[in-house]
């Protein structure tokens, strides 16, 4: 009865089920969706919490870090008593407290060209919330090569940016063909980040994921959303697919994954820039 929902599910998801365009069928889509979150940090925290609360059936989370005191100012998945704990473990605990319906798969690893394809296979959408450019490019390339949407975001200081890359409709390399050189990028520790900033940007990432799953509204595709917290302004810039893109263009030159740390011979720490 009632499309197979339990009484508990009807109560839990009622505010969502009654939304135009969602209904029981939409809620079923959410419960059957599989989303992979790259990073359980500033962006991944609100994204994971809202996706879990919405009833996403399966959340895969990759992060090789442990919780540090300096994370607590913005990474709301983690609590003071989690300091020292693996972030994916802490994330899984927080998620199951929010919604035990959600299956969480923990990947306490750093993504690389060696493992990313295996890890993201079986997931419908990837949410990019890493703190470094090599990972952002790796995720971009892997998502294009496997045909998965990449809900991309980055934050620094008081500014954030995000967009949705749908394979064939533009990618990160259409905007910036290559990662910035390491010496051009301030490290996140030195540059700082307003704690609520990833809260806003990560929540928008979760919104885009839910829209994609439900087929609702207009996804943030072909547009880069820029957020300035100090001016409290949102801007949009066009970012359509480029025919000369090295990855998704007409004559691509990138046909396999690149590990920029190895490629550039520079330690990954120096790439750290956006988010956490």
């Amino acid at each position: 009865m009632f499309l197979g929902f339990t009484e508990e599910q009807i109560r839990r998801y009622s505010r969502q089920i009654v939304l135009p365009g969602v209904g029981g069928k939409g809620q079923k889509k959410l419960l059957e969706a599989k989303v992979f979150l790259v990073g359980a940090g500033g962006l991944g925290s609100p994204a994971a919490l809202y996706l879990a609360a919405a009833g996403i059936g399966k959340l895969g989370i990759s992060d090789s870090d442990t919780v540090d005191e300096s994370n607590l100012q913005r990474q709301i998945l983690h609590h003071t008593h989690d300091v020292g704990k693996s972030k994916v473990v802490s994330a899984a605990e927080a998620i199951s407290e929010i919604n035990p319906d959600v299956e969480v798969v923990q990947y306490p690893v750093r993504l690389s060209s060696e493992n990313i394809m295996d890890l993201i296979t079986g997931y419908d959408i990837v949410v990019e919330g890493s703190d470094n450019f090599p990972t952002k490019y790796l995720v971009n390339d892997a998502c294009f090569l496997t045909g998965k949407p990449d809900v991309h975001a980055g934050i620094l200081r008081f500014d954030g940016q995000l967009t949705v890359f749908i394979p064939g409709k533009g990618c990160l390399r259409c905007i910036w063909p290559d990662p910035p050189p390491p010496n051009m990028v301030p490290s996140c520790q030195e540059a700082g980040v307003l704690g609520v900033l990833p809260g806003i940007v990560g929540s928008i990432q979760a919104t885009e994921v839910i829209k994609l799953i439900l087929g609702l509204g207009k996804p943030l595709v072909g547009e880069l959303l820029l957020f300035d917290a100090l001016g409290m302004e949102f801007y949009k810039a066009k970012c359509n697919r480029r025919h000369d893109c090295t990855l998704c263009g007409d004559e691509p030159t990138i046909k396999e994954l690149i590990d920029y740390e190895q490629f550039c011979g520079i330690p990954s720490e120096q790439f750290k820039a956006l988010t956490i």
Partner: protein, 97 residues
């Protein structure tokens, strides 16, 4: 015989076939509405659902909300001391793709 009940579309209620009845006695708002909506979602356009409720606010709220969703309220009738029957015809489900 009392006056004939006429639906919003001018059909005689007595002649209208009820395809499904759900008993929501003991249930309160907004779940009376949510469960009505979920049931309508399982039905076809044009089919008729009868919802039995005993929670007075639902007698007003459910028909109003179902009407807002685009469905047609055929009738709202008190059937005994405690229960009401809300008869609704599914016209279109806004959640359909």
């Amino acid at each position: 015989m009392g006056p004939e009940k006429i639906s919003q579309r001018g059909e005689k209620v007595e002649s209208m076939k009820v395809n499904r009845v759900i008993n929501l006695k003991g249930e309160v708002c907004p779940y009376t509405f949510v469960k009505s909506l979920l049931t309508l979602e399982e039905m076809e356009d044009g089919q008729v659902l009868q919802v039995i409720v005993d929670y007075l606010p639902s007698v007003e709220n459910v028909p109003r909300s179902l009407k807002n969703e685009g469905h047609e309220i055929v009738s709202v009738v008190q059937i005994n001391d405690t229960d009401w029957a809300i008869t609704v015809k599914r016209l279109a489900w806004s959640g359909e793709e």
